[in-house]
């Protein structure tokens, strides 16, 4: 069959060329160091833990039996299947790449052959996914037939999920052709699920709840090979799972649904998403062709930095706006105040839990936020030639670029702080010195510091972009591989190190100020006093950083650094 030959040729050649090009680029030190770092990461954090003992794969051993793990797994898989039916929009279709559309759609293949192509492609991908899961769960180290057993289990699970994606996509495409809109479909599915759960609840109330496990049957069939105890049991489990794969393949093959238009639209969307990622716009959710409301009026008297803030705020996710922020603040305030007042159902404990989670999330956001909020110079690097043509000094462009992510990170951090200040009341008065006055003082001091802290944090990855633009380019490298993973790890490690160095003076000064003054003025006032030198240090670091990096941007040789 020509379509099968084409698929095999494409897959094998792509794999061979990809490996060859990854090996070739190891001649460049940045990829070589990245590969070493990536390999070290995999060895120390993945393989070392699984080597010699079968690792996580043991958890799925037959000895573990079809106990609660199997039921939980089946429930998770069932939820995932429901999501597959809920998620696709109007343009649900088979997923082809733009190149596949260009080459295969006008080619002399019947529609069914294209479906064969996509299904076989999905099964090959499922197999590669199975090999990957086998590696990271340590199943590769169990030896002999056990490896094949696990490989079969992973493959049947992956293949069933992949094929079900296609079943759902084609069924939805058919429903759309019949005039069922996406919202109505979702409402119907959700209503069906709610009704089903309610009916089952009533049934379970009258009978044994275990008798309702048949609902999880398809998911259990797909997962059962993981929990088989012996060779015979395994075969008895694998056969129905493989049968389910064959059944879904047959259903898809029999569905006479014209998928071409939806697939072309999907391919274009994917192509645009890849182009956006290559342009460094990882978090660009602005939506195709949707006009965004300006965050503020860009008046003539505003400095040029405000123009960058204005532009980058509009490129931020649509939910990053004043209304959402204020609404979230009101909800947090009202719900935590209400929770604290409801002692009848342990409301204060819930409020405390929310506050602890908020503090944890705040810490995570401060650590990882700069990696996600990239609508600064990193996002604009692809347009560096345009930026450099502006009659604006480099330091002002850099400062302006930093503003939008700083505003967004600050706003989010303020919400977390609000939740922490309101809810951080340890149950039973366990920390008596943590008075409301102290909480509010700490909250306000941190809130004042936060914009400067966020700006300093964002300065670090932007500095890396300007000082090592070739390394910063790796963020746009979509080909993946051990070397690219390693490069990202090195960049992240470098950022953490710079952050520690940047934060150290502020922490020491704040600690010293509180230690020296709290005996005289009390802890709340000492915290306020400590905020002053911290603000000074952050401002100084920011000014020095922007002053030093500005000329680096002016001198950035785009032709030498940014071309692939």
């Amino acid at each position: 069959m020509p379509v099968l030959r084409a698929l095999v040729y494409l897959r094998l050649t792509t794999l061979r060329n990809r490996v060859a090009s990854q090996l070739r680029r190891l001649r460049q030190p940045k990829y070589l160091f990245g590969a070493i770092a990536g390999a070290a990461y995999f060895w120390f954090f993945v393989f070392r833990h699984t080597a010699g003992r079968g690792g996580a794969a043991k958890a799925f051993d037959g000895a573990a039996g079809a106990g609660p793990v199997e039921v939980i797994g089946a429930v998770v898989l069932t939820c995932f299947i429901v999501l597959i039916w809920l998620m696709p929009g109007d343009d649900a279709g088979l997923t082809f790449s733009e190149a596949e559309v260009a080459f295969l759609f006008p080619a002399p293949f019947a529609r069914r052959q294209l479906i064969h192509y996509k299904l076989l492609d999905g099964l090959i991908t499922s197999f590669m996914g199975a090999v990957f899961f086998l590696l990271i769960t340590g199943g590769w180290n169990t030896g002999g037939l056990s490896v094949l057993r696990r490989l079969g289990a992973w493959w049947s699970l992956n293949a069933n999920v992949t094929l079900h994606h296609t079943v759902a996509a084609l069924a939805i495409a058919r429903l759309v052709r019949l005039g069922l809109r996406v919202t109505l479909r979702r409402v119907l599915i959700i209503a069906g699920i709610v009704l089903g759960i309610a009916a089952l609840g009533v049934l379970a109330h009258d009978r044994d709840a275990a008798s309702l496990e048949w609902l999880l049957w398809p998911a259990k069939v797909a997962m059962r090979p993981f929990f088989a105890t012996g060779a015979g049991d395994y075969l008895l489990a694998l056969l129905p799972a493989a049968g389910l794969v064959a059944l879904q393949y047959f259903i898809i093959f029999r569905m006479e649904v014209p998928f071409e238009e939806a697939s072309i639209a999907l391919a274009q969307k994917r192509g645009e998403a890849i182009a956006r990622m290559r342009a460094g716009k990882f978090m660009s959710f602005a939506g195709r062709g949707r006009v965004r409301r300006a965050p503020f009026r860009l008046g003539d008297r505003l400095p040029v930095e405000a123009a960058f803030l204005w532009k980058n705020l509009m490129a931020a996710p649509s939910y990053c706006n004043r209304k959402v922020f204020l609404g979230a603040a009101v909800v947090i305030y009202a719900s935590l105040t209400w929770l604290k007042s409801r002692t009848d159902f342990e409301g204060p404990i819930f409020a405390f839990t929310v506050a602890v989670i908020s503090v944890t999330l705040l810490a995570y956001m401060l650590l990882f936020g700069p990696q996600l909020a990239r609508n600064d110079l990193r996002g604009d690097l692809a347009h560096a030639d345009m930026l450099k043509a502006y009659p604006v000094p480099g330091w002002r462009i850099l400062l302006g670029s930093l503003l939008a992510p700083t505003v967004i990170m600050t706003a989010i951090s303020w919400l977390f702080l609000l939740a922490a200040v309101l809810g951080f009341v340890p149950p039973g008065g366990k920390i008596p010195w943590l008075t409301p006055q102290l909480r509010i003082t700490v909250g306000i001091a941190l809130a004042v510091i936060m914009p400067f802290l966020c700006a300093v944090q964002l300065l670090v990855p932007n500095a890396a972009t300007l000082l090592f633009p070739a390394w910063a380019q790796t963020s746009r490298n979509l080909s993946g591989g051990m070397d690219v993973l390693g490069q990202r790890l090195i960049l992240f490690g470098g950022q953490m190190l710079c952050l520690i160095v940047a934060l150290l003076p502020s922490v020491l000064l704040a600690g010293g100020t509180i230690f020296l003054t709290q005996w005289l003025v009390g802890l709340p006032t000492a915290i306020v006093l400590a905020a002053v030198p911290v603000l000074g240090v952050f401002t100084l670091q920011l000014c020095l950083g922007v002053w030093w990096l500005g000329p680096r941007f002016d001198k950035l040789d785009i032709s030498a650094e940014l071309r692939p």
Partner: protein
Amino acid sequence: MIEVSGLCKRYGNFPAVNDLSFVVQPGEVMGLVGPNGAGKTTTLRCATGIIPATAGTLRVAGIDLAADPVAAKRQLAFFPDEPRLFEHLTVRQHLAFAAKIYQVPQHETRAEALLAEMEIADKADQLPGELSRGMKQKLVIACGLLHAPKVMYFDEPLTGLDPLGIRRMKDTIRRLGREGAAIILSSHLLSLLEEVCTHVLIMKQGQRIAGGTLPEVVAQFSQGEADVSLEEVFIRATGGSET
């Protein structure tokens, strides 16, 4: 030969193409023009079998596209406006892949000749990422010509080409026409159509406004004036607006 009869294509309730009919004989190059949203790309996609038509008959080299799509598609080549290539296949491997799709036996000799003709033979072992846009375009054309199609569809073929590339592309299209291929060329560049096409079809809002040989269409809208350009004809035919 390309025969389109009563072609209709609807997206929901929106008629993208409505009752369109035309014929392109072997050796003819027909320019498809119209304002944005006129239905040119949809027409091309339907005529190549990329998307199914809602109604109408499409015949490629005498073969009904709906009845026997595989045989019909074997006779045609489609060159999209944007060269879309596989990231990890070299130039030569793209040709090998196209040969597999179209079942071209012993394609190597013809592939080498096409690479030389397109002046990308020295890039044969390079990946698309290393090629300029013009070279990618040439590779797409080489892939399309590999199976010696009788019918060809070009969608904005000059996009992104340098002056030399434009010259070569025009020569290639003219030569293919002379060699007996039936060609449809969709473009906004009216000067290209004047230079390359033997026939022209003007569309607006999914419908045929005018069609025929270039002199016939010009005569239809010249209102007795001499030396009326195709640009002027286009503006008069479409009323100077998209709607």
